[in-house]
């Protein structure tokens, strides 16, 4: 992050970090998903970010985010992949025509992604999905200084997991296993935390 603007190269560097980080935890995420679903979440996330990281990005940050969306759509057809693609696309629309994202617009971008993903997946906040993580992060970023954002996002992603401990999943495959799902982390929320951790792994 060059000061309070996130440019194409920042995005590319971030994608590389996340691709690396999620690659390292793919097995963990597959296992978490396997408890309640089909066990493909680690593959979905790591393949999606790897594809995005290897895609040449245009300078227009909106178009760059659109390429990320397309990359996810290409390699993944699992729910999480489609949702991430949807989120990238919403951010892309909002940022189109600019060379960088002003950090103070980040809360709105995350919020836009959250809203688009809710519309796409017909999910609600409180269903114990990745939507809750996004919502928490969007809220946590609000009014924060650029240098405090990463830490706030991390806290918010962690707290979301803690907050939903003991509550059943109400959406996706995991919905079928209400009892079992209550005792487990939602794999999508866990994946989101790992993504944020990877983002934070090297100060940008």
């Amino acid at each position: 992050m060059a000061g309070d603007m996130i440019g194409r190269d920042d995005l590319a560097a971030a994608l590389l970090r996340v691709a690396e980080g999620t690659g390292a935890v793919a097995a963990e995420l597959n296992a978490a998903d396997g408890q309640l679903g089909d066990g493909d979440l680690g593959i979905t996330v790591s393949k999606g970010f790897a594809e995005a990281a290897h895609t040449p990005l245009p300078e227009d940050i909106g178009m760059a985010l659109l390429e990320c969306a397309k990359a996810f759509q290409r390699v993944s057809s699992s729910s999480y992949g489609t949702l991430v693609a949807t989120g990238f696309m919403a951010a892309a629309k909002a940022a189109k025509g600019q060379l960088g994202i002003a950090t103070d617009t980040l809360p709105d971008l995350v919020g836009a992604a959250r809203d688009a993903m809710m519309a796409r997946g017909k999910g609600n906040l409180g269903d114990k999905t990745v939507l809750d993580s996004l919502d928490a992060v969007a809220g946590a970023l609000q009014g924060k200084q650029p240098e405090a954002m990463m830490a706030s996002a991390l806290d918010a992603a962690r707290e979301t997991l803690a907050e939903f401990k003991g509550r059943p999943c109400k959406l996706g495959r995991a919905r079928m296993f209400a009892e079992k799902s209550a005792s487990l982390d939602d794999p999508g929320q866990l994946a989101f935390l790992r993504i944020v951790e990877a983002l934070a792994s090297r100060p940008a």
Binding site: S76, S79, T86, G121, G172
Partner: protein, 332 residues
């Protein structure tokens, strides 16, 4: 892994290659993982597409053909196709009169098909509509019926919607008939042993010797009880009781019934079940029309069976009986 394959990664693509090679009179694969009618889209006819994970033959690809569907996108085993593949299937099905997306209510499929619809509307100016199958009565209570998953009821919906499209009705009309067929279906399943998803390499669930699970889904989604295996009549009775609790049948009603194997359960045992099904509906005074007994929607080598009913009125019955042909079901 007791499966005949070369490699898990090539399972679906080699399957599709053999599939189109065996039935070139019905199927073509214009793009990877997209199956279309051998003759292509029919000009002026509403197109019907479906899609979903592999591992359910003859669902989904098998029901492409005259009087049935126009194209289909197919994913890895038990995994959604991508939105791109779905968009491509929609383009293949388009004969200029719009395209109906007719498929089962699974989160991933819905998201991808919605996205695909947005794509073709933007890029190709194709008008699309959606009808979701949500026929599994045990997957959600009646109050949340729209959350139910779609199972073998698809077979009836494909047939009936396909017949409606064949009359050259417009998109709204085909969509109406498809929705009516979908709404008339009720299904329930039971399983005795799992199947193996090639890429996972292990069973989708575990179930004890001598045990069964009532209400299990076609991907091994948990059912409503698991206990020791009951006699065929007791199993069939409970399945019918649960269906008619959701959609009663009475004197003079007409319906069709599909007694379907999940794969390994042999025809012999489906007929033992059908014998009871027929007696039960006869007791209610309802008449079964064109019963289907066989493997119409499977989960590879899973052991178990599903029962689907569709309540018929004159319109649905006419479409059900209209001529149609695919490699697995021919109505003449």
């Amino acid at each position: 892994m007791k499966k005949i394959l070369n490699s898990p990664a090539s399972y679906v693509d080699e399957m599709l290659e053999g599939f189109t090679a065996a039935h070139p009179e019905f199927y073509a694969q214009p793009e990877r993982r997209v199956i279309a009618r051998a003759g292509g889209a029919v000009k002026g006819k509403v197109g019907i597409v479906t899609g979903g994970g592999s591992g359910h033959l003859p669902i989904f690809t098998g029901y492409v053909g005259p009087g049935f569907l126009d194209a289909c996108a197919i994913g890895d085993v038990f995994a959604s196709p991508s939105a791109e593949q779905m968009a491509s299937a929609i383009r293949q099905a388009d004969g200029g009169a719009g395209v109906l997306r007719l498929y089962g209510n699974y989160g991933g499929d819905v998201m991808n098909f919605d996205m695909a619809g947005e794509m073709v509307e933007m890029e190709n100016d194709i008008r699309t509509t959606t009808v979701l199958l949500a026929d599994d009565v045990v997957s959600a209570p009646k109050e949340e019926a729209e959350k139910r998953r779609g199972v073998a009821g698809m077979v009836y919906a494909f047939k009936i919607a396909g017949a409606a499209a064949e009359t050259m009705a417009d998109l709204d009309e085909v969509t109406r008939v498809a929705q009516k067929a979908a709404d008339a279906c009720r299904s329930i399943g039971m399983a005795l042993s799992p199947c193996i998803v090639p890429q996972a390499g292990k069973a989708t669930f575990e179930i004890g010797e001598g045990e069964m699970e009532m209400g299990m889904g076609i991907h091994g989604e948990p059912g409503i009880w698991r206990d020791k295996l009951k006699p065929a009549d007791a199993i069939t009775d409970e399945m019918i009781d649960r269906i008619v609790a959701d959609h009663p049948f009475g004197k003079g009603d007409r319906l069709s019934v599909l007694v379907n194997s999940l794969g390994a359960t042999p025809l012999e045992e489906l007929y033992i079940m059908y014998r009871r099904v027929k007696a039960r509906f006869a007791d209610m005074g309802a008449e079964i029309v064109m019963p289907l007994v066989g493997r119409y929607a499977t989960s590879m080598e899973m052991t178990g069976a599903t029962i689907t009913t569709i309540a018929l009125d004159g319109e649905l019955e006419t479409h059900l009986k209209a001529p149609a042909a695919c490699a697995y079901w021919r109505v003449v």
